[in-house]
Symmetry: C2
Subunit: 340 residues, 2 copies
């Protein structure tokens, strides 16, 4: 940190609630009531106050309000290297939803393993994105914080804390059924990162439907990936370099599906003519590659909105916090050009 800490000799203006009260000829308390939209205030009084607020360009002091209300009006967002598309989509939803209730988002980068959570922030609630939502150290740290929290697409069910999920298994099952309906019999599968519950669920959905359809799963067509583009490249090569190969590959996310398409091209295979490729999530990349990817759209934005909503409800209403109402979102099959 640099030098002397003398603050604000020119920053920050300074009209306080007292100034507004004086200008409007009322008490600070009345100003406070107007600002907090309490319905009791007379219309006339309200207007006087609002005028004074405008004249003085008054902006309430967040810290003072927080201190008095014993609330920070901040929600912490714990993340750790999600794909760019995922986090940016999530942020859009969460920021918009928080704004309505005057909540702001504070970002905390949480490389799992490091338990350096919340060095000193005081937030009213916390949202944990995968895979942080499954890091036990982080969860413990958040619980010690004593604030409500929401876990997004978590793996293990954990006593407290609300969970916002999608039914990964059902969604994966739907995708495999789609492939079978298309006439595919030999279907390859690229698994997701083993540190995420979604990976197991998606695989389970895949296997369930294959079994259901009486189709044997060729274990050498099921390979480990890690949700990254690179890992998809490797996995696809393993599957496609065999003399016999599947007619379709279901990758556990879009990045790996995109990589599979690229690998297919490299090996001289046309998509979808020679090989059908499908992904999961419907992140940006799904519409960016060529051919565009058939995938399972995860309603990330809606999930973010729900997370913020529920969190605010829990912050306001302790009862709600006692009996969290987990919610599960449904995915939508988005058919594009990579399947046939």
């Amino acid at each position: 940190m640099s030098g002397s800490n003398k603050p604000r000799s020119r920053w920050r203006s300074g009209a306080t609630i007292k100034d507004v009260a004086a200008a409007a000829g009322v008490s600070p308390m009345t100003v406070s009531r107007v600002l907090n939209k309490e319905p009791v205030v007379t219309l006339a009084t309200r207007e006087k106050v609002l005028k004074a607020v405008g004249d003085l360009d008054y902006r309430p002091n967040f810290s003072a309000r927080s201190l008095a209300k014993a609330r920070s009006f901040f929600i912490g967002l714990l993340y750790d290297n999600p794909s760019a598309g995922y986090i940016s989509e999530f942020l859009n939803g969460a920021v918009a939803r928080g704004k309505a209730d005057r909540y702001h988002l504070v970002l905390e980068y949480c490389p799992s393993g490091l338990q350096s959570v919340f060095s000193d922030a005081n937030v009213d609630g916390v949202i944990l994105l995968p895979p942080v939502c499954d890091d036990i150290n982080t969860i413990v740290a958040v619980e010690r914080l004593g604030v409500p929290y929401v876990r997004i697409s978590p793996d293990l069910a954990h006593e407290k804390g609300l969970q916002i999920t999608i039914d990964d298994r059902a969604a994966a099952a739907r995708m495999v059924r789609y492939l079978i309906d298309l006439g595919h019999r030999e279907i390859g599968f690229i698994k997701g990162h083993p540190n995420q519950g979604a990976s197991r669920e998606r695989e389970a959905g895949f296997r369930a439907v294959m079994a259901e359809g009486g189709l044997p799963v060729r274990e050498d067509f099921v390979v480990q990936g890690y949700f990254s583009y690179k890992s998809g490249l490797v996995a696809a090569e393993v599957i496609l370099s065999k003399t016999d190969r599947p007619t379709a590959i279901f990758a556990s996310n879009d990045d790996m599906a995109a990589a599979t398409v690229a690998q297919a091209h490299r090996l001289g295979l046309e998509v979808p003519t020679d090989l059908t490729v499908v992904g999961f999530d419907d992140t940006e990349i799904a519409s960016a590659v060529w051919p565009t990817l058939t995938t399972m759209r995860q309603p990330i934005r809606e999930m973010a909105e729900a997370a913020v909503d529920q969190l605010i409800a829990m912050i306001n209403n302790v009862d709600a916090a006692e009996s969290p109402r987990n919610s599960s979102f449904v995915c939508e099959l988005v058919q594009r050009d990579s399947s046939g």
Copy 2:
């Protein structure tokens, strides 16, 4: 908002600085000094205090500290639909850098046009991402806030406020020289969104080098894009559907370059055999498509770190704020598979 607002009957723990002081047998003031790492305190005292802090699991109240210090320790980040890759990269840098000085980032979504900036947050400084950094209403609103701000890759030079830029013109020039060195003579260009200065600069760099090399610019090979994948698809079609076409296309960002590759494929052209395509930014998509894109890497993370650094310096030191030291970052040509 839901129901009654009775707070924290079970959330929030509660050890205050007084409790710590009592436990350590010192005054609150001494605890404060220890916590703020003021060097005056005796080692013995310091240790007593630290032990009490640990025992009580004390975490300082951010709001109280902010109120007393007249500082929020929050930095606002104003954004408006940047590409996912851009914002997520920027966030990584900014969050990490802020952490070192106990600053946190608060996100504000600022659809330009709407001047709904900072409904009520009080931040110590503001970072404006493009294109918000060029929205005059937003700039005015931020100036009225009375806090220092940094603009990232801004268009018009504006009196106050620090600017973190790259030399778009020079970078674009370098890319065009690279293409010429590769033997290309007929080079197409897809412009960026006209609301961003970077677009004009990149085009200027393109034209300068073409002129420098004595190569005429075919105006029908220069078409308008808007930085989106879709706009790139359209632009590329315009250029490539002619009977004669350029041997190389320089798109003003990666999304449009990726779209150009896709469009080329659709038209039966091989990249780079039949057509060289290059982009700008080196965002995620550049390594995600096939063939991977040759592009100009913009050091987004470093720029984010610099922005936070400078902002904190300005917050702490008014003198620094008087004479902002703008900084310009250099880009790096990343050669991949889409050029030849």
